[in-house]
Symmetry: C2
Subunit: 287 residues, 2 copies
């Protein structure tokens, strides 16, 4: 499966989501998993991949070798513990540092692939400076969040920058047809500028097994089951799921399994447990 002779040098930018951060920690979720696995698989195919990300810990070495052909490169970009809402203030320093790193190593990348709008802003500039194609993946979009009334405040600045990135990227890479449709509808981008590549599955880790055996293994009852996997945050809409469960519970014998991060004492989790209690469905849920 090697493609050595067509090997490319790829720069992935994941400004705020470090692929070597611990999964389930605050602001560490699906995007980090995606970037980590994308980089690893591209590396396995023989491509040379550098993942550029912010330092998130004083103990971070600048360069982390991450398996075959893959490096994670930490660069300064604002204070280590900066609030996520203020990260947009530090894209300029990260961009300048990334420019400096590329200059010093004399690397010629064939492509830069950005993850999230903040990385897209950085990649757009890097793409212009070095004249290399830019593929952008947003993972979430301000206008989608605003439409969902998720409660998170999204600025018009973010919306504008997202539009700019969409306009200047060589292609916008999304994971589902739904995302392509959202971008077309909310940002007015022509569908042919958007490429859909579904996320892969690690078939060694996730493989088909008899349902009853599987349920026994993880100790859950053998009945109709809803599984939620994700961080416990308002954006994920667990409150809506609880309301739906209440409605369904009148006619069906259900259980809901919630698999999230380590959030003991988390306000959102406490609020959701309270809501479940008030709806009288606590017994159906395994948080």
């Amino acid at each position: 499966m090697t493609v050595e002779k067509d090997a490319m040098r790829l720069a992935l930018i994941s400004f705020h989501g470090c692929p070597v951060a611990r999964l389930g920690e605050k602001d560490t979720g699906g995007m980090n998993v995606y970037v980590l696995n994308l980089a690893s698989e591209l590396g396995n195919l023989g491509h040379h991949v550098d993942v550029f990300t912010r330092y998130h810990d004083v103990k971070d070495p600048q360069i982390v070798e991450l398996g075959l052909n893959v490096r994670v490169i930490h660069l300064n970009g604002g204070p280590l513990l900066e609030r996520k809402e203020d990260l947009a203030f530090h894209t300029a320093s990260f961009t300048a540092n990334m420019h400096e790193f590329i200059s010093q190593e004399s690397i010629e990348y064939d492509l830069v692939h950005s993850h999230y709008w903040l990385s897209g802003k950085i990649a757009a500039e890097i793409s212009r400076i070095w004249n290399i194609p830019h593929v952008s993946t947003f993972h979430t979009l301000a206008k989608t969040k605003l439409r969902a009334h998720s409660g998170e405040k999204e600025t018009s600045y973010r919306v504008n920058i997202e539009s700019e990135i969409m306009g200047s990227s060589n292609t916008i890479l999304v994971l589902t047809e739904k995302e392509r449709e959202d971008i077309r509808e909310l940002y007015g981008v022509s569908p042919e500028r958007i490429t859909v590549i579904p996320a892969g599955v690690d078939a060694e880790r996730f493989n088909a097994e008899d349902k009853i055996t599987s349920r026994k293994r993880v100790c859950i009852a053998d009945k109709e089951t809803i599984l939620f996997v994700g961080r416990i945050e308002p954006i994920k809409g667990l409150n809506i799921l609880l309301d739906a469960l209440k409605t369904l519970s009148n006619s069906r014998d259900l259980q809901l399994i919630v698999v999230g991060g380590n959030l003991s004492g988390d306000k959102e989790l406490t609020a959701l447990r309270e809501r479940a209690k008030n709806l009288g469905i606590s017994k159906m849920i395994d948080f």
Copy 2:
């Protein structure tokens, strides 16, 4: 001289050079004077001018009314006392804050005019976000400095950003034909993309007077005089002027008047005085 009915709303960006900073202070020179007078004169003509600049003192109010139709607006953009070399790291925060300010005041600018490359970087983004024309004035350029071997280190990052600004500006405004020629030669920009508008002179302050009377008034000898006005910095090339003076002094009776900022105890000034002494021309110079 009013043009009220054609009045425009103009945003001037002078990120690091505040027009209300005291002249002659470190990094406060001709550019500040230029921006201040440009803003004032445009205001006198009936245009509405906002000059956006970095906070440079905790005592700065956010908005300073600066005569007719002119406001200076201070915005956060990195630490107050940041080193000039690190200001490039803070253009993103300034840009985001400027976007926020414009949004909140619901101002529709007709034009954004940037001063220096850092401001040009900010203006390029503001111009794209709000879809308004961008006029850029550089005042100094990295490649001109590098060619002059002035000793100041200029990064390839600055060179790249300058090229980008030149490419995206609606016009590049320069003060002299020499600057137009430099930009054409060093950055490969077509001359028709560059507009030359010489700097004005305050005719009330500077007016023609009999030479002998003038010299008496400022107490200088009535002989061939070379006048240097500017900050005492390596980039200004005073060392070259001293060498030239030495050469000329063999055949002519000259004097050199140096008018600079308040730099008592300044290293550069001390070095220049030492050089003059070694050249045996100290008596010809009034520092």
